[in-house]
Symmetry: C3
Subunit: 205 residues, 3 copies
């Protein structure tokens, strides 16, 4: 009920910011997975909790769209932004979950590059969300996300080459490929969020 | 021409119901695949016919949208709903087809959990379509689909752990993983249909 | 600045045509990959350049949508069409890149069927783009793309059966499967472009 006396628009901006902050948190949990001797099960449990909180924020946005007559921008765009942010979390959680599920041994060190990209995307996205209010200074955000997505794609392909380079057996390739693909999907989902922001900006400004 | 004297809106509701009933039928054919000694080629042929009929309904909806001046809800939403229902069928047909194509041996018993989820999703969706007319009592449908999707996701991950657990060789893992991923995609496609219905409800009610 | 004195609409039609012509070029480069003794690295480098040019056209379309008050059809549809064309290029480039990255040996001859389909889809799409001006004679385009997508899907599944047929080891199956899946995704992306055109046609004509 804390939102009651705020103007309607503010609620949406606050919720998008909350949603992006869940991603900052999720990316940080993901980074812990790479630490030597990490307690993967405990990390996976915390990741799952973070993912549940993100889900709740997404549903909060959806139900407020339903209940609100005038929204700050098109309903479809609010849905697209909310579900785009949610997708990032789902892919990050998937990566952590698969690591536990497949009982993967040591993760290739190169995965750290993908996780770095994800952490920076999460921070940039969380910083950009409040700027939706004014629709100002957003272009640097989506340009940088696009640059990071390119860097992430290079890391991803580099890791694939490594996996197929002959030092892993087929089952390990299959396992690790699933994990790095989840991370790559998370990076792609950040880019999709940035594209959505760019489209909202184009329509509203 | 049977539709000629019906109000325009009714035609769309009837077609969505028909489309969802194809999915009930498809899920039932899929379930037969799990029976011991099932004639997989015959089942795949029937599945393909069901998929063709579903395609025809989808095209019928699309061509009616094109030919109709006033539609019961936004054109984009009609397309999204029709193509979402079509996607479910495509994934179910894919699962059956891959089973034959890969000459897979016995399917892991746990696949039955995924197929159960699909059958219940199909029934719920077929029951919900007529309620688009009044836009009433739809929330229980999408809530239950979301719950089933979570259950399906758990089954999916459980089967993945099983496949990588050491009793399957890499080629069999690859084959079976493709099949359970198709089934998981079908469940996800049901959830997307439910999300579309939720969005239509939000706009129209 | 060559566009300055053209009516606004024309710029978009020209850009869509340019975008589709990049795909004709990309599909031709892809076809070279299949030639015996092909210099794959050189081909991959040219493919990457073609992909960069396609990216630039996509961004040109997006920035013009932002800067233009009256667009020839809905902003969302312009984005959908531009990003759909861009997706095709991304998948074709991915297929070429993976071939180099995975150091794949001989490609199965059957891949030529998929590449044939892609070349014909690219030509049909490039021929159809100018017809967006009049919105006439477009149905034959999307019908033929749908037919080609069905043919492409048959080739794809045929190659999958071949890969799992026993003469490839698991690692080679994994590598080749990724490549043929990229090609299949490119065909699917052409179909999505055709569906977008069909929807634009339905709204605008």
């Amino acid at each position: 009920m804390a939102f009651r006396f705020k103007p309607v628009d503010d609620v949406f901006y606050d919720l998008f910011q909350t949603s992006a902050q869940h991603l900052v948190e999720g990316a940080a949990i993901l980074a812990e997975l790479l630490g030597e001797g990490a307690d993967r099960k405990a990390i996976a449990a915390r990741m799952q909790e973070a993912e549940h909180r993100a889900d709740e924020t997404t549903h909060e946005i959806a139900s407020r769209v339903n209940a609100t007559f005038v929204t700050p921008f098109d309903r479809e765009d609010i849905y697209a932004l909310a579900s785009g942010l949610d997708d990032v979390m789902d892919y990050m959680e998937e990566a952590v979950d698969l690591t536990v599920l497949y009982e993967v041994g040591a993760l290739p060190a190169e995965i750290a590059e993908q996780v770095d990209v994800l952490q920076r995307c999460a921070e940039l996205t969380a910083e950009a969300m409040p700027r939706l209010r004014s629709m100002k200074d957003l272009s640097e955000y989506w340009i940088e996300i696009n640059r990071l997505e390119n860097a992430g794609d290079k890391s991803f392909r580099h890791i694939l080459a490594l996996l197929f380079g002959g030092s892993y057996d087929a089952l390990d390739v299959l396992k690790l490929k699933d994990i790095v693909e989840s991370l790559e999907s998370a990076v792609d989902a950040f880019e999709k969020v940035a594209n959505t922001v760019e489209q909202i900006h184009a329509k509203e400004s």
